[in-house]
Symmetry: C2
Subunit: 409 residues, 2 copies
Amino acid sequence: MAVGETRFPEMPVIEGLRLGTAMAGIKKPDRRDLVVIEIPEGARVSGAFTRNAFCAAPVTVAREHLAACSAHGEGARYLVINTGNANAGTGETGLEDARATCAELARLAGVDERSVLPFSTGVIGEPLPMERLLAGLPTALQGLDDGATAWREAGEGILTTDTRAKGASVTLALGNQTVTINGIAKGSGMIRPDMATMLAFVATDAALEPVLLDQLLREAVERSFNCITVDSDTSTNDACMLISTGRGAVVEDEADLAIFRNGLQRVMTELAQAVIRDGEGATKFVTLQVDEARSRREALDVAFTVAHSPLVKTALYASDANWGRILAAVGRAPVEAFDVERVTIDLGEVRLVERGGRAPGYTEEAGSAVMAREEIVIRIALGRGEQSATVWTSDLSHDYVTINADYRS
Amino acid sequence: MAVGETRFPEMPVIEGLRLGTAMAGIKKPDRRDLVVIEIPEGARVSGAFTRNAFCAAPVTVAREHLAACSAHGEGARYLVINTGNANAGTGETGLEDARATCAELARLAGVDERSVLPFSTGVIGEPLPMERLLAGLPTALQGLDDGATAWREAGEGILTTDTRAKGASVTLALGNQTVTINGIAKGSGMIRPDMATMLAFVATDAALEPVLLDQLLREAVERSFNCITVDSDTSTNDACMLISTGRGAVVEDEADLAIFRNGLQRVMTELAQAVIRDGEGATKFVTLQVDEARSRREALDVAFTVAHSPLVKTALYASDANWGRILAAVGRAPVEAFDVERVTIDLGEVRLVERGGRAPGYTEEAGSAVMAREEIVIRIALGRGEQSATVWTSDLSHDYVTINADYRS
């Protein structure tokens, strides 16, 4: 199941950046499960990774190699991504396997192995099937291409329990030049990213200084992937990479930077929302907007407390305007000296709660009409400050239980 | 559904303490939904209440009345409890209704209204049906009795989505005297108590100083009701009351106190575990034991992070030894400078994880054999300190979704 439309866009070419996929049979036969992204020389690469303490072997190696590239003033040259196996909880063997994957791709492509970054997603705790994975690399390399089909196939080649590929693209005018930002992402369950989502790869031809690239990635992640949750579980393999080939317009002055920052945020937010629309078992796409908080942290705490409440999530699934559950979740959020008399809660255009109780004009019919929709906005105003946060989430359905109880994922 | 046996014990008499129930038709006809507990003069009453900021009207009034009693050096004389309606999120009207309930019972019983404490549980946000509730009070008063049947009927009269009544009792020898501790509790969903569980009433004939009574209640709650979670949702109506009639043995010296403290902990823990065994949709009873933490707070944080993980809970439901999900949940717990190389995870008697990955001797067969059980112990040793915590939880089943999506609770 999935909510609403998510069309994979016709991605424009980003000159010098090519993608290749293979069917390596890592977990299942006859599906794209191995992706190689080739990055031109002189590009800059920035990454945000999971903060899960049990981070996966490829996350450790990708961080190491990225640091080595930075130390030499170079960008990475290849990303290699497999689905079907997360190479997480695999100890020393997992690290060796991730390094061996980089080494083999480096040998085939004639580059230094530290310029190859590995990424894995899939089941935790099983060894990577190295023979099949390595055997797939030549096919992926031979298929390298910069066209829209290559982007779409790469989008498909990183999926796990996702029901559809997720891509987003914008082309921005900077003065008399244009720059493009393309991104692909995967993710459906174990989604409560902390620094980045499961896997997202965003590339642009814009030229950006490394420090600025890092800063732009962190800002955009903070208001996109770090604002979504399916099930509160932060993955061991989260990674979000931003690649700047530098072959397009140079982003220098404040006006250009504002346009670029805005475009990047759009691409990242669209990808993050696509993950939620395709959340495991999702039948609703829910926007939680918290306003009038003392700090953004406080607004996020309230939003995530509501977004993680199983009782709110099952009420959303049932299209039941059970506003008491929303109120109870808001009330248990970690807010100091919380005066609930000042709180208002709106469901779409309907006022649910004010002055600590049900709003006077509220009717069950009005609430139920909003809850029946596939896309629902819940707005919570705390009445104690000026700060806001928006979080996107899905509901908790029978399909969520079925997907996670019936299959080893 | 419910896990294991929970026999409602044959409660001994606690002299002077009587219980009466009525069928007031608050939400549904023909079920016990109104309970009155009469407390003898001279008794002491201590309470622990929810920390949900949207606390229910009866919680506010019970706190006020309890404070008024303390100020006069007296204990409360009556507790009045209704199920079927939580009187929460009901604003000013809710407070008036809770006060009117106390006033009417006080009038009928000939006591001061501030010596009556109100408690409610059930649906949030609907006004109390005051006419039916008040009409039920005389029946409950007429039925006041101190026998085992009265205790059992009171246990039944406070239930909501619970499938069975929950009671626990111990009789302790203090020197050549005995004291008794009886307790009843309710709770099945919206269970992640913070200070106390949904509703629990514990009474003893032991004589205890008020300050000591408060302290004993807080200690026992901290390691019983505050260590359970069904769905991470803290209720608006949580309350746990401890009544000491003072007609039995006086608890004075250290040896007696140790015996009493231990007995109270047993009763409270048994009640708390009974709530989990009867958790909404529960098919498993899971003990999460975290050892070798730097602080008890840290141990609790790890235990609750695992206990709240929907992916761990669905794996438990599926009897799937998906240890990667446990590892991922441990890894996202808020532990500073967390070295996962030192962590070990055991499932029952089977070592799952050590040195950051799957334990060498682990086999899927051994893990599956433990997961197939109804009662499962997961032990997580952090390898960084001396502190421990134990948390009890249930699994996430289709029935949980059905119960919360199909009915307005």
